[in-house]
């Protein structure tokens, strides 16, 4: 099967999902208690202003019409305006998203550097103290609340040792060195959770592959164990792990919310929290919409990577 056909099929399957995603996100506003126009007006209590909001957001129209108008604007790239600073939500997202993407990329690198080698070692030493310890560490990484881990790292590295800054962010084009020092702790915090997931999946995939006939054959041919693990087993075990990485990247966006709040990083996640506290519902909806869109895209990317890596799918 060709890649284009595979992608086209996946996109067609995704369309109903995307439709329901848009309905769910639009419905969030309907959860607002009482009159939505009053809730959107926030502190503004002038009836004329509230009537203006009602007209602006078409709240006097039937729900289906409201959805149609909202969806039309979304498809044209109009996610509304921030109630707080009157800037288009799209513009805010464009400025904040790259910061979060940088954080997510650095976190994923840390997760891969820790998770994959640990998973390989754990599988190769199954049942030994190394395996038990690696499993315990991975489970700890999954169990530790990351906002608490961030606070503890600030206490140690910023407060006691003074090695790293406690908070803040410097863009890489301004000062790469300072950018890396500001991004290191938050990346480690986010990366540890994903490292635990990657480790467990790598271990599981490696154990499955190490039990395969061709691995048994390689061992029977007296191939050194190091080559059996790294050359024969790892290559096949990495296929599902790499596709998992694409999906986990999407989950990093979720974890970034708290991490950015603790380390005062002006990213996507902090934008969501600020939107919540300022009752800037257009911002909240915009962030949720973009998160969902990115997650769907990354899942599609994971499917494409799996298709490219697995020759059995290409030949189907």
């Amino acid at each position: 099967m060709r890649l284009a056909v595979f992608v086209a099929r996946r996109v067609v399957v995704l369309l109903p999902t995307l439709f329901f995603v848009s309905v769910l996100i639009f419905s969030l506003q309907k959860l607002l208690p009482g009159d939505a126009a009053i809730a959107l007006a926030g502190e503004e209590s002038d009836p004329v202003a509230i009537a203006g909001i009602r007209a602006k957001y078409h709240l006097d129209q039937p729900v289906v019409v409201q959805y149609g108008i909202w969806m039309g604007k979304v498809l044209r790239g109009d996610l509304g305006e921030s109630l707080r600073n009157r800037i288009p939500v799209t513009e805010l997202l464009a400025s904040k998203l790259p910061v979060t993407v940088e954080l997510a990329v650095c976190s994923m690198l840390i997760a891969l550097l820790i998770g994959i080698p640990t998973g390989v070692l754990s599988a190769a030493r199954k049942g030994t103290l190394v395996d038990v310890t690696a499993n315990a560490v991975a489970l700890s990484g999954l169990s530790v609340p990351h906002f608490w881990l961030g606070i503890m790292l600030i206490l140690l590295f910023a407060v006691h040792l003074g090695w790293l800054p406690a908070s803040g962010y410097v863009p890489p084009w301004e000062d790469l060195g300072r950018n890396l020092t500001t991004i290191l702790m938050p990346s480690f915090v986010l990366g540890t959770g994903v490292a635990g997931v990657m480790m467990r999946h790598t271990r599981g995939a490696m154990l499955q592959v190490l039990g395969a006939d061709y691995v048994r054959t390689a061992r029977a041919k007296s191939v050194p164990e190091r080559l059996v693990v790294l050359k024969h087993a790892l290559r096949n075990a990495l296929i599902p792990v790499i596709t998992l990485g694409a999906i986990e990247f999407g989950r990093l966006l979720s974890g970034a919310v708290l991490t950015e709040q603790i380390f005062a990083i002006p990213g996507f996640g902090k934008m969501l929290v600020d939107g919540v506290f300022n009752r800037d519902y257009a911002v909240v909806q915009g962030v949720v919409l973009v998160s969902a869109g990115l997650y769907v895209l990354l899942n599609l990317l994971a499917d494409i990577l799996y298709f490219l890596a697995n020759p059995r799918l290409r030949g189907a």
Binding site: L18, F147, I151
Partner: protein, 292 residues
């Protein structure tokens, strides 16, 4: 050569009965420790009024940010409240956060999952597309957005977390139900004239419980972290009511002067979440027919 008319009796193979789930679970020492921790957590949460040494919301401005001592075992916070008492009472919010969202997810997912898995067709397609849509939005972002629109409170936080956890349970219930409906004993039941409803309740439902049990343990752990996260952001348990998450929020401002305010709530969250994850893993191993 056998004599005609003589039937050779096959020697009977004595079958070793499989130990019960509880015994299979008790064989594993990490699972035993995890169960003990969870049991202690529940006892402390339920017995908070009798266990906590002080009133968790009573402020004492003469004891602001006191280090751990004889009088205050784990120190005091920024308004002189005993940290140990607030940790004990905070366990209640976490216990509710572990139980209520999972219950919401189970109550909704079991009937919908049975309906989707056993009926199939357009209804199954519709339920799955909605589930996929909910799964497309990252868990914590769903919970934050819902809590934001519903309003900040522990109740709304638990509803938000329950809704966010629902699609995973629904997919699991539906997938398991779908697999079971292809079994031969289901086919036999149909042939005997059993209605779909009877098949779903008598035959399918008992078999979807084990994987949902495993998921419940893992989701309870995730829900406790989610509640702590929402409370940390100010969207969950509202002050002055104690919650481990809101304690960490306050602790941020006093990291230098009072680090104990940050250390203990996090350790409590870590302890209970780790235990629930270990329990979930042990349940998965115990329910795996190839193991135990």
């Amino acid at each position: 050569m056998s004599q005609p008319g003589v039937v050779l009796a096959m020697p009977s193979v004595a079958e070793t009965p499989r130990p019960s789930l509880v015994r299979r679970l008790f064989r594993r020492s990490p699972a035993l420790i995890a169960m003990a921790v969870v049991a202690a957590f529940v006892i402390i949460a339920v017995g908070a009024p009798h266990v906590a040494p002080y009133d968790p919301i009573k402020q004492d401005f003469r004891a602001i940010r006191k280090a751990p001592s004889e009088a205050y075992r784990l120190g005091t916070d920024e308004v002189g409240r005993d940290v140990l008492s607030r940790l004990i009472w905070g366990a209640r919010a976490s216990l509710l956060a572990g139980v209520i969202p999972v219950s919401i997810a189970l109550i909704v997912s079991i009937p919908l999952g049975l309906l989707s898995g056993c009926t199939g067709g357009w209804l199954d397609g519709l339920i799955m597309r909605i589930t996929d849509a909910m799964l497309a939005i990252p868990f914590l972002i769903v919970a934050i957005a819902l809590a934001a629109f519903l309003g900040p409170s522990l109740t709304n936080a638990m509803i938000a977390i329950g809704i966010a956890a629902l699609p995973t349970f629904l997919r699991l219930a539906r997938g398991t139900a779908l697999a079971i409906t292809t079994e031969e004993y289901i086919e036999s039941a149909r042939s005997l004239g059993c209605s779909r409803a009877r098949i779903a309740v008598r035959h399918v439902l008992p078999n979807i419980v084990p994987p949902l049990l495993i998921q419940s343990s893992l989701t309870a752990a995730a829900a406790i972290i989610a509640e702590a996260s929402l409370s940390f952001l100010g969207l969950g348990q509202q002050p002055p009511a104690p919650s481990w998450g809101s304690m960490l929020n306050a602790a941020q401002r006093y990291l230098v002067q009072a680090p104990w305010m940050a250390i203990y709530p996090g350790l409590m969250i870590f302890g209970i979440v780790m235990s629930l994850n270990v329990l979930g893993d042990a349940l998965r191993d115990a329910l795996d027919p190839k193991q135990g």
